[in-house]
Symmetry: C2
DNA sequence: CAATAAATCGAACGTTCGTTCGTTTTGATC
DNA sequence: GATCAAAACGAACGAACGTTCGATTTATTG
């Protein structure tokens, strides 16, 4: 799999982008027609990511958002209860998509090594496709209120666990070395995160998303793989 | 070297913490007595890091800072020209310290492998000692104005170059593999950054700063080192 | 202990913020 | 095209913001 193949696969996720955010927050949204909500909420999310990634969510004013979306202040508040609530909706929506993608990635039939490859590639490719959301969520995570931040942390630990589970399974099958897999998983994650956190750097180096995924795989394999001694 | 040894080494840097920030901004600081400036600026820096890392620099009000430092609003403005200027001073001061530490780390006499070890350990240990500043600077970097952000980016690329230079030197001496060293350096940096960005995770895993440094070194060596075939 | 300088204080200023709500526009129904 | 609900509008509100500055306290000097 490479990135252009991946893009086709995820068309489905892109289209249903705000759907879950709607059903989950239906009571707080004052607009009735589903189609109108979907269109405008999508517009609001994109504008928030655009402005938020430039100057930070706190520094984004509702007037900024009004200008960017073309909706009036009053209209905006028909789609969310407060600025804080907008932040929560936006983060939740993306997290749910990401979690679903990652879990679809676990393939019991595949070997642990194949599964590790697929997890790495999917992470890199999905964060490439949704870069604004990933960057935004990483940077604004600490601005969430206690309860919502706990959920965010749980999601992060869950995705760490998906990785470490594969590593453990690989160790049992003799493909991977015996290592502290939880720690390894955390370090792999930090490599993967760098793709959307330091995108400018990789652009400058002329490293493509496919190059990056391949190199991270090599890097991780060097460390985890049991080398077959001259067979 | 381990962390407790490192702590002794950097006592010097800790004490001269705000000294450079003072000389560089002397004209903007209205307070005359050097000793008063040093004491209060240090207090202001620490308070800014504390509040800023909790709620973000933008969301920190001057009233918050006044409460935390015990200085009045008017007194605060005797030490910096504006909120924006405080951000710049704080970032510059830390960057200068970090750069100095890193450059003291380059040891022409040592082997590239020894030098790599020293760079990794120093990075991890220094970011442990100055965690609030590192976290703050990573998160608030994008809020800098154009010119100041360019300086920050240049510093980041410079520290990448220090790493890749050592890797290249090691390759020439036959100790390290032939690899895209710039890319490798970027990935190593992302591992190192994770120590102060995701500190809560490593605390939860009960990984000490020494454990972490050792494991990163192992991870990097697995990838970069030329394996001596059964000698 | 005056006299002078240095440092601190905190009320006040003009903006800008998030949010509201009475009004206007749009779109569907008969 | 009249009627009515849905959606969008944008001026207005009080709160909170960064910043200033004349008054006050603290420290230094002769």
């Amino acid at each position: 799999m490479n990135y252009s193949e991946f893009q086709k696969v995820i068309q489905y996720y892109r289209k249903s982008n705000a759907k879950e955010a709607i059903t989950e927050n239906r009571k707080e949204i004052r607009v009735k027609k589903e189609k109108t909500v979907a269109k405008n909420l999508q517009r609001i999310f994109e504008a928030t990511l655009k402005i938020g990634n430039k100057k930070g969510f706190q520094a984004m004013s509702m007037r900024d958002l009004s200008d960017e979306t073309g909706l009036s202040m009053g209209a905006l508040y028909a789609y969310f209860a407060s600025k804080e609530n907008l932040l929560v909706m936006l983060q939740r929506n993306g997290r749910d998509n990401f979690q679903k993608i990652l879990e679809d990635c676990i393939d019991e039939a595949a070997t642990p090594l194949e599964n590790l490859h697929k997890l790495i590639r999917t992470h890199v490719y999905f964060s490439e496709a949704m870069q604004p959301w990933f960057y935004f969520t990483y940077m604004e995570g600490k601005n969430l209120k206690k309860m919502e931040r706990k959920i965010a942390v749980d999601h992060e630990l869950h995705s760490d666990n998906i990785l470490s589970t594969v590593l453990t399974k690989g160790e049992q099958e003799g493909a991977f070395k015996k290592l502290p897999h939880q720690l390894t998983a955390a370090l792999i994650k930090s490599l993967l995160n760098d793709w959307y956190l330091k995108r400018w750097k990789y652009a400058k180096m002329d490293v493509s998303v496919d190059d990056f995924a391949k190199y991270v795989i090599d890097f991780v394999e060097s460390h985890c793989l049991v080398k077959k001694s001259g067979n």
